[in-house]
């Protein structure tokens, strides 16, 4: 029983981490069609910035400051990348992917040049390094922190998307970008906003990942990114709650399989992915594109009928 509780809470913590990364990815991809390989690079730079801050200040204030610095680093980096690099390539999806791929190779190499290839310990304040007894299990405190932050972020994104004007533009843009542009709304500003938001979430995820793993290395971001991709494939792009659910599932499956199936949690996740991919109902025959278009047009006509 205590093992199960520990595994569940650890899996939830891991799921929270995945959610923070995947939510940004899903928003960016949904709105801009950019498969952002640089997302892991944002995370890596942020966690190193946070690590420097936490080392300099020290203790709990250091960690809080590090969280702010990490989030801002991710935000700034993403905004700069969007404004300087991605913006020039609107409409050319493949080139956009290629640029982010280039960044995902160059940025970790830069970090490695400055701080070396070896993993370094992330300073965890005493208040967060202990464990708490839950139903007889000793659960590390940082798991609760991760889950709490992820829940806050989920609520925040949900409020942003459902209650603000920009959220409305983002949701409409994910649905049909051409129509939003045709209505005279400047989607490019929403692009920058979403990219920066994704970067900020990646930065925050970097800091929490530092707490969770207790260490940081130049390639940490890239390996986390792969699981974030898996989360996005399983969960889809919208609504954001399905991304959260999928992140949770992946985190739990990984932890359970790691313990009960002899350390093959990562493989279990991939098997889960394959199962999900295969079980997706193939509605009728025809090319993937026609099927995709049918899937996209059905809800649109329904909503058009509703407003008429």
């Amino acid at each position: 029983m205590d093992t199960l509780v520990l595994l569940t809470l650890t899996g939830l913590g891991l799921g929270a981490l995945y959610f923070l990364i995947a939510s940004g990815l899903a928003l960016i991809f949904g709105l801009m069609d950019v498969l952002n390989f640089a997302h892991g690079a944002f995370l890596t730079v942020s966690v190193y910035a946070a690590w420097r801050t936490a080392e300099t200040v020290g203790g709990m204030p250091g960690l809080l400051l590090a969280a702010v610095v990490g989030t801002l680093t991710g935000l700034l980096l993403a905004a700069v990348v969007e404004l300087v690099l991605i913006r020039r390539l609107y409409g050319r999806v493949k080139e956009q992917i290629l640029v982010t791929v280039g960044l995902s190779l160059a940025v970790p190499a830069l970090v490695q040049t400055v701080w070396g290839a070896d993993a370094r310990p992330f300073p965890v304040p005493d208040a967060l390094s202990g464990t708490v007894g839950v139903l007889g299990a000793r659960v590390p405190v940082n798991r609760f922190l991760l889950i709490a932050v992820a829940l806050l972020v989920l609520a925040g994104i949900h409020l942003f998307l459902s209650r603000t004007r920009y959220g409305l533009i983002v949701r409409a843009g994910v649905e049909d970008r051409a129509m939003v542009t045709a209505l005279g709304i400047d989607v490019t500003r929403a692009f920058t906003l979403v990219f920066a938001l994704g970067g900020a979430l990646a930065g925050l995820a970097g800091v929490l990942g530092g707490l969770y793993f207790g260490s940081l290395s130049p390639h940490q971001g890239t390996s986390l990114l792969v699981f974030a991709f898996v989360v996005v494939i399983i969960g889809g792009l919208v609504p954001i709650t399905s991304v959260a659910l999928s992140a949770l599932t992946v985190g739990l499956v990984q932890q359970y399989a790691n313990y009960y199936a002899g350390g093959y949690g990562d493989l279990a996740v991939v098997v889960l992915l394959a199962a999900v991919v295969l079980s997706r109902p193939a509605a009728g025959t025809g090319s993937p594109l026609t099927r995709l278009r049918r899937a996209l047009t059905t809800p649109r006509t329904r909503s058009a009928g509703g407003t008429a």
């Binding site: 991809f29 069609d33 498969l35 390989f37 690099l85 020039r88 390539l89 493949k94 080139e95 992917i97 290629l98 640029v99 791929v101 280039g102 960044l103 995902s104 190779l105 160059a106 940025v107 970790p108 190499a109 830069l110 490695q112 040049t113 890239t222 390996s223 792969v226 991709f229 898996v230 996005v232 494939i233 889809g236 792009l237 350390g263 093959y264 990562d266 493989l267 996740v269 991939v270 992915l273 394959a274 991919v277 295969l278 997706r280 193939a282 025809g286 090319s287 993937p288 594109l289 026609t290 099927r291 995709l292 899937a295």
Partner: protein, 355 residues
Amino acid sequence: MTATRTPRATPAAPAPAVKDAPGAEDGLLRRLRPATVPVAVLLVLALLPYSALDIPVLLDGPVNSPGSLQLFALCLVFGALALGYDLMFGRTGLLSFGHALYIAGGSYGTQLAMTELGLGLLPAALLTLLLGALAAFVLGAVSLRTLALGSVGFAMVTLAFAQAGSIYVERNPGGLTGGEEGLPLYVDGVPDALVGVQNTVNVYWLALAYLVLVAGVVWTVTARPAGRVWQAIRDNEQRVAVLGRSPFAHKLGAFVLASSLAVLGGVLHLLVTAGATPHTSTPEFTLTLLVMVVLGGSGTRWGPVVGGVLFTYLDQRLGGWDLGVEPMLILGSLFVLAVYLAPGGITALGRRRNA
């Protein structure tokens, strides 16, 4: 091409005698012309081991020293791997991030078939090729089914499979894969002619043969009807479906063929580097292949080869020049610049200047 050819044939006076020859011979020449560049390149590459030329900064030793030959062999292998990858990326429009899985599969599979099953190099490589093609068929069929996210779904799923393979290799299950250190080449299973420093030249020949094989397969297949359908899928998949061809079957065919070539490439990588390294299984390895293809020029005859050779050379040599930075920083930045400044790759750059 046609624009430059016609005016040269029509004026009577200064054109060379061959050009004035009757139609039959002219036709023969024209038919042979596409073959001249590959044959010339092949000749130069084949004669390389007989040259003792010393190029100070670019190479550590003479051209025919074992160190230089090994570098050349590695460059050729990567040129061929990039060309095989381009079969999917540039020719069919499939963005796969899981190519490394098959390369690592070729390396580790052949090595393990030699150590665990006691096979010789050739049977081990053939067995690995067979199993690799089978795996590519199954995994390709699964990956190509992801439709909800369009072509990007394919990219993500192949990435996930490759990552699983990479983790499996690094976990070192049952001491099979050697974990982070990889496996040194099992020399007892390999013919003596391919083992040792003094036999580097033979490994070089083998790498050259692999490049010729891949170039032959890729260039031949893309000129055939199947290749035309791949190109059509790249340009407009829906139209292919409307015209009654199955995009799925053709994409799967391209995937299996490219993956089989990658498995063979893995065998070559094992022989050239004298070992199986876990680095070949990482998603980053696939990304570098993508970088090579795009740098050189995707979807072109020579682009991927040029990109692969150049990238590998720089990757190997930049570390030796002691610049104080990681090679990948320079190469990654170069790549980002190239996407903006040379959209068609290096080979297209030269062509545009000529025009």
